[in-house]
Amino acid sequence: MVYQPADGDMLQGLRKSVAIAWYFAWSDTRARYKRSVLGPFWLVLSTLIGVVGLGFVWSTLLHTDKAAFIPSLAIGLVVWNMITGSIIGGCTVFTKRASIIRNIKTPSLRLSLELLFQQIINFAHNLLVVLLVLVVFQQPLSLVTLLVIPGLLLVFINLWWVIQLLGFIGARFRDIDPLVQAIMPILFFLSPVLYHSHQLGRTQIIMAFNPMAYWLDIVRGPLQGVVPDARIWVGTILMAIVGWALALWMTKAKGARLPFWV
């Protein structure tokens, strides 16, 4: 039995790339948890522990109402995990797959899509925690909740270019990976995960310069029955356009050098 891969047009090639990226992301996730009993649900458990632990400590420290604080924290933390996973993973997305890049002709965008899919799979598992919290704290569901779908799509589109761009930079400059790992914890406190941007009062202006604040707000707002500001939507869309322009420029300019960098 032999197979004959079809040459196909670009659309077919794209569909095939997406199928490969998905299959690889899924089987990598399975491989990672192969011999553990809980499997990917370890991730859910660790998120749950994080939400409960941080929830009680911070709501006490900040003197806020747990019923308001914990849902907001749960959503924030789950989105934050996906963002940091993409950013930190993005730095090594190509170097970790060096043997593939050097031996098989592989579009770099497919490898970054694979990492994005992995992050989305993790995120989907973590949504269980969000669901649980929304039920326990009886958050109101309405049509506004549906806005979370375009919001999440915009976040995915943004994370994809972030991974692609960081992948190139991280392959060329090996300091980027430890550097990013070092600054992510402080970015956690500079992003509205434990709090809302408006709680910062006049200093909330700094959130205008934090891309992650936009991504957090665009997902958390709808889930808590708040329509995100037009500023958030426009900002996120603009970031996607500018980011993709950069990432595609990088791919076109340096894609040929990638096999030598990794």
Binding site: P5, Y23, R97, N103, I104, F173
Partner: protein, 252 residues
């Protein structure tokens, strides 16, 4: 119609030492006005291919010979479209299959079956096509029940059987092979060679990089000789009567 044309192709590798890979040195290079840049950035460029011109058409069987580091593997990777020429022009018309870097993308925690699908997909098959080659690989690899257990329980030879089986299940158009195999027992070598012969027969253009005159004589019609990335000789292979594709020697 498969065809490959190279016009005056050069490929230069940047070699980054540890200092060149670091951001600090690049920033330093900017702040010192680039005067120190040559030393502090430490990028040495190696010309792995130098002005290669070549034309391959339907039915060609080409052997690449030359010492280690003469550019054979770089040329194969350039023909495969992995490396892009830094100078000159290349046009590749046809679908390229490669047998080198076997085991790239092997996920040790996953079973043999899952790895068959992953590797076949990476080499260009769709999910359904990948599943369709499983019986063929089951038969060739003779791994039996081992295909259901994680690959990290396999010996080196078993891994080779698996990845070689997948790499040669393709229907190749342009086939590029690097002399990489060697693992596996004598009995496997015989079967691998048989499979390789059939695999090569199905291709319309075949390029083999090898150190073995015997293999070149068996599989190729002409050879090019590379040295320091330059093409220094080209000749037609004279077939001696003894050289037939009989399964007795190691596969390429």
């Amino acid at each position: 119609m498969a065809e490959i044309t190279l016009q005056n192709v050069s490929v230069e590798y940047p070699i980054y030492n540890l200092r060149a890979m670091s951001l600090r040195n690049n920033l330093l290079a900017i702040s010192t006005g680039g005067r120190l840049s040559k030393e502090s950035r430490g990028i040495v460029s190696v010309r792995a291919l130098d002005g290669i011109s070549l034309k391959l058409k339907e039915g060609d069987r080409l052997g690449l010979i030359g010492h280690n580091g003469s550019g054979k593997s770089t040329l194969l990777r350039t023909l495969a479209g992995i490396y892009t020429p830094t100078r000159g022009r290349i046009s590749i018309d046809g679908r390229v299959s490669t047998v080198f870097g076997l085991g790239a993308g092997l996920e040790l925690e996953l079973s043999g079956y899952e790895n068959i699908i992953r590797m076949a997909m990476m080499l260009g098959a769709s999910r359904r096509q990948a599943e369709a080659v499983i019986p063929d690989i089951e038969e060739f690899s003779e791994l039996g029940n081992f295909l259901s257990v994680p690959v990290n329980t396999y010996s080196d030879g078993m891994r080779t059987r698996l990845s070689f089986g997948v790499a040669t299940a393709m229907h190749p158009e342009i086939l590029l092979v690097d002399e990489v195999l060697g693992a596996g027992d004598a009995e496997f070598q015989v079967r691998a060679r048989k499979r390789m012969v059939k695999f090569i027969e199905r291709s319309s253009i075949f390029v083999l990089a090898s150190h073995s005159p015997e293999l070149i004589e068996t599989f190729c019609d002409r050879t090019i000789h590379l040295e320091h990335g330059r093409l220094i000789g080209e000749e037609v292979v004279r077939k001696s009567p003894a050289a037939t594709a009989t399964p007795r020697n190691p596969v390429p």
